[in-house]
Symmetry: C2
Subunit: 383 residues, 2 copies
């Protein structure tokens, strides 16, 4: 096991009818900005529950955070915050809304252009306090400090984060997810699945607690996914999927181990250029990463095959093949397509993405050996 | 899954050569009291590492915290703290030292008799800040708010805890555990094992993340225990056992599920009256609790049998028997005795303990049905 130093301070408020609890978490004298997306929270009753809970607070609202939230949109929220002297932010939605809220919270006090946080030009030295009400389990953003923001002007999608960008609290009411479209539920399950593999399919460094926890989360997804597809209003199934998604990326299973993130970084480019859903991009890329890195990741892919898919027969290469197929089959069982051709990304599209990795001189993966030419090989195997 | 509200704020500093990190965690101007036990930390170099790290701080020391720490001893530490105007406490040791430090931290500001915290007569409204350097993985105290204190005068062993009694940080250096006597290593493994079962062997309420995590911790113990008995200086084995012990009782696997604690409560009386090691008492009591509660706990015992011990053959009752035997065999494989007769506790001793549960009118367990007569049955099956 590697050394680590870590705390996760987020207070989780989990369960049925818990949105009303936010009134106990936000001091009465705070001026609150509710931040949300396209308005689904007005259809499923979440908006009403939130505003009811805040009826004795002074609150404002900012809507229109898009999927893959735009830097440009976030800047408008910062303006409103300064104008209305907001003290506390409340993100109500999925990962995009929560990510945007983190970026906004950090941007408020910063004198310069907050895109500096994304390029690494500047560090985050403070942020407005904020809480979240999660309605789409997927990104784990409700229980971590990270955020991913897209600059529409340049089609750049980059990640940031700071000790200042942890939510003070996150409300997870599984009933808010009953009305999710199947596509979003599936994307969320895939996102969680890949968060886990990014932290698990790396080195075999004998970090057994982390390995078993990672495998536990994957097992929950495999067990509950078929159920949620047929019965989307089963409380326990929704609860398990919601809780699994937070654990997929609350950073505990990634402590003491090396992490990968190549699948995410390649996927981000597919979203930036082609606007493919984040979950869909991961379903395309992960099998390619496993295939191309089958030697480096051998021990952990074999372990995954055995412990998750009960694959124990055949040569090592055969078992690795079977494991990759099992992963791809799982994604397809959620009615998610797993090939670039399914999304009309052709050879020219692959070149465009590869060029970006070449320009940035990135070397991804837990071994730092996923250079642009390896990215090219991964994408070509996923045509 | 049940509703819950929870945060665990403890910062973990994990790994080789990490004790020196405490200097970054305790402000330079704080007057520090180092609290420890019988002096093993002077033999294994931990005391030297701690005092070296604090060389630019003003620090004092208080030694002599006994296993099953005494209320009476803690009061002496409170006196010293008041006299020397201590700002920050540093527990260096195992669960007893950390538990004592929590109680001491809470007692310092309290006007009345701090035993009130244990009897529930008074609430903890504040505590001195403290950190820990863990040297004996077992109780999970380094990553939770709970403590157990014994009043020597009355042979009472009671549990307390408060949001104010979380460590600010805990240093977990697996190398500090290389020199532990086999008996303490074994006790720690059993303590962790039983912490997990107290949160896992209750209702089958479809909380799958919690179930898989609980099973993961148990698997780590079963895999690593034989290795540590033969090679106590294997870093990864010690690291896995240390990290597993924190997760056994950092309260995450107990969120959203009902918990038991009957084994611990009965075990505490065996310690209070007979001074049997805490881990040993659990090894005696748990098989009895599983046996007597085999109907209530059926689903979870069967699940444990299948997922932990690969027990799938036979009737339900036979599988339950096999699972209980497997648990008892595991404890015995650590050279820990599992019967009351091994410790010379006879029928009169059982009656003495049962009387105490009768007097307190306690009804233990996740179903609140472990009354004094059930305690009697449990203990009689463990003669």
């Amino acid at each position: 096991m590697e050394n680590f130093k870590f705390a996760n301070p987020v207070k989780i408020i989990f369960g049925k009818d818990t949105i009303k609890e936010i009134v106990k978490e936000i001091p009465q004298n705070q001026r609150v900005l509710i931040i949300y997306g396209g308005g689904s929270i007005k259809k499923n009753g979440v908006y009403d529950q939130v505003t009811q809970a805040l009826q004795h607070h002074t609150w404002f609202e900012f809507s229109g955070i898009e999927p893959n939230p735009h830097y440009e949109t976030c800047l408008k929220a910062v303006e409103l915050i300064n104008k209305e002297e907001i003290d506390f932010l409340l993100a109500v939605g999925g990962g995009s809304v929560i990510d945007a809220t983190k970026f906004i919270a950090a941007a408020v006090d910063y004198g310069g252009d907050p895109w500096d946080f994304m390029t690494g030009k500047s560090k985050i030295n403070g942020a407005l306090p904020f809480g979240t009400v999660l309605t789409l389990p997927a990104t784990g953003s409700e229980m971590n400090k990270g955020f991913v923001i897209t600059k529409a002007a340049t089609q750049e999608k980059l990640a940031g984060g700071s000790a200042h960008t942890y939510p003070k609290f996150s409300v997870l009411d599984p009933e808010t997810t009953y009305s999710l479209p199947e596509r979003q539920t599936a994307n969320g399950i895939i996102d969680t699945f890949v968060h886990v593999t990014e932290q698990y399919l790396t080195f075999d460094n004998h970090a057994l607690v982390q390995d078993y926890f990672a495998e536990g989360i994957l097992k929950v997804l495999l067990e509950e996914a078929p159920k949620v597809m047929t019965k989307p209003t089963d409380y326990n199934v929704r609860a398990n999927l919601m809780w699994a998604s937070s654990w997929g990326l609350n950073d505990w299973i990634g402590q003491g181990v090396e992490t990968d993130w190549a699948t995410h970084m390649i996927g981000h480019e597919l979203t930036a250029f082609y606007n493919i859903d984040h979950g869909q991009t991961l379903a395309i890329v992960l099998p390619g990463v496993m295939d191309v890195q089958r030697t480096d990741k051998k021990e952990k892919i074999l372990r995954m095959g055995k412990n998750i898919f009960n694959i124990t027969e055949g040569t090592e290469n055969e078992r690795i093949d079977k494991t990759i197929t099992a992963v791809e089959n799982f994604f397809q069982s959620l009615n998610v397509k797993t090939r670039l051709s399914d999304y009309n990304v052709d050879e020219v599209g692959i070149e465009k993405i590869v060029q970006r990795f070449k320009d940035r001189k990135w070397a991804l993966g837990e071994r730092g050996n996923v250079t642009y030419d390896v990215v090219k090989e991964i994408l070509q195997r996923r045509r």
